[in-house]
């Protein structure tokens, strides 16, 4: 790699890391304020504007708290478990494109840390690594509740990873690629026909994943909730049943790492949902008009035009991700937790057959050239 590529990659990684690390405190604030408002309370509103500095106070507390280690744990695994669940949640974002490309001095820079040719497969493999952290934590903590949490988490992951993987197969069929960059780029095209029906040209909609694969989207959305251990599928934590599940024996910064892993998983899941089904960095309706207006009013040079385009694309991707992050919180405070057998029923008897049927139907459509 040339020096330019090194610098570009470094800059992209730095940008993503900085943004993603900000997500955790902000989300913890959003979750607390959001839940409070939904329950007709006010939530933490004392520290700073709207209580935003509450996150800083939390961080200070986490850092200065005594790092106590229960005597009954298995030390090595107990210590690496938070890391094992934290790191995968971070590195999944490497393949998610957050804007299209720009050419600087003849170098084309893609706004994606690594455009791997295995794209989606990388996401799934890394995402399923996260469960090892949970199982390690549950096992190494050497307590019955953590063990139960870990077992639940493992079975839940296996059940829902299947339907999650299968629901994306339809998308891969539609866009003939597993590279997330390609998938995002192709969603900018127009959808000319909906299955066998041709859409009249004045009603063309963008070829976003949700219009091509509505059922796939639904299955993916539900599976993603299970994968990130969020309500209504938060059985691994289940406060009212098994205290706090797998992270029961953890305190201070080690607990904070589990929490960060959860929120980063949510971010990655939101990023995936946006990329696969909502056009990734493709501009939202109306934003293209805004962008052109902006470029014309300020009479920007071609380079500045390109950068404003990139900015709008990042903003568009950001809005989609933020919506899904909010959706995670929203659903959490709306739906009650599933019972364990209901969870398994839903996973194996509903999600799996539906995702298989989705693949079959998509294959038939592809065979007749309707996609």
């Amino acid at each position: 790699m040339e020096t330019f590529d090194w610098i570009a990659t470094g800059a992209k990684i730095a940008f993503l890391v900085v943004i993603l690390l900000q997500v955790v405190p902000i989300m913890s604030w959003v979750e607390r304020r959001g839940s409070a408002l939904m329950q007709n309370r006010l939530g933490p509103n004392r520290l700073g504007p709207l209580g935003l500095f509450q996150a800083i106070a939390d961080a200070i507390k986490f850092i200065w708290k005594e790092d106590s280690i229960p005597s009954h744990v298995i030390p090595f695994y107990y210590f690496i478990a938070p890391l094992v669940s934290f790191v995968p949640s971070f590195i999944t974002f490497a393949v998610i494109p957050f804007a299209s490309s720009i050419s600087i001095d003849g170098h084309v820079v893609h706004f994606q840390v690594a455009d791997l040719n295995v794209g989606l497969l990388y996401v799934f493999s890394v995402a399923s690594l996260g469960v090892y952290g949970i199982i390690m934590a549950g096992w190494a903590s050497n307590s019955k509740y953590t063990m139960l949490g870990a077992l639940r988490s493992a079975s839940q992951m296996i059940s829902y990873e299947l339907s999650m993987g299968l629901s994306v197969v339809g998308i891969i069929m539609c866009f003939s690629s597993v590279k997330l960059g390609d998938i995002a780029r192709q969603q900018g095209e127009l959808l000319t026909h909906l299955g066998p029906f041709v859409i009249p040209s004045s009603f063309h909609i963008p070829k976003w994943g949700i219009f091509v694969q509505p059922l796939g989207f639904l299955i993916f959305l539900i599976s993603v909730f299970a994968e990130t251990n969020r309500l209504p599928f938060d059985l691994p934590e289940g406060e009212s049943e098994i205290v706090a599940g797998y992270h029961l024996e953890y305190g201070s910064m080690k607990f904070a790492m589990f929490m960060m892993a959860e929120y980063l998983n949510m971010t990655t899941a939101s990023g995936l949902l946006a990329t696969l089904f909502f056009g990734g960095w493709q501009l939202l309706p109306g934003m293209g008009f805004l962008l052109h207006g902006f470029q014309n009013i300020f009479n920007l040079s071609s380079m500045a035009c390109e950068w404003t385009r990139i900015f709008f694309e990042i903003a568009s991707f950001g809005i989609k991700v933020v919506f899904f992050m909010w959706f995670f919180v929203w659903v959490r405070w709306t739906l009650p937790r599933f019972r364990y057998d209901q969870l398994m029923d839903l996973g194996w008897k509903v999600m799996l057959p539906l995702s298989l049927a989705n693949i079959g139907v998509t294959a038939a459509f592809a065979y007749y050239g309707w996609i």
Binding site: G34, A36, L37, M38, Q39, N40, R41, L42, L218, W330, V331, W333, T334, L335
Partner: protein, 147 residues
Amino acid sequence: MLIEKKKGILQELYLVEIIKGLWITMRNMLFSRKVTIQFPEERREYSERFRGAHYIKATNGVENCTACMLCPTVCPAECIHIEAGERPDKEKYPVKFEIDVLRCCFCGMCEEACPKDAIKLSNIYEMSTTYREVYDKSFLLDQRGGK
């Protein structure tokens, strides 16, 4: 008794129901009145009969109490300790009047028993302190609440 609910296909799918539920939470978040009382600035209005911190009522700077021992007798928590004495202007008065607030259950029976309208429960409920306060006579003679 098991009640069989009739469910249509839409209810079985749950999707519409979930969207309805999401609307309910959103409606609560955006439009409903928040019930939080922001404590130091806003306070809950309690009834006049609220039983809070104790005080001994004084008339013209002299305590009403005559150390008749009715309140320590009636007190179910046995938290009132009185030692009676004599002084020129008053035949019988409490030399020592202490309330063990940790034992007190704020039942208000002392207030009911008192024939001289001396021991009163004010409606002050913020009783946490940063030092250990003994509810002795000088403390109790502070006319709090002024009922």
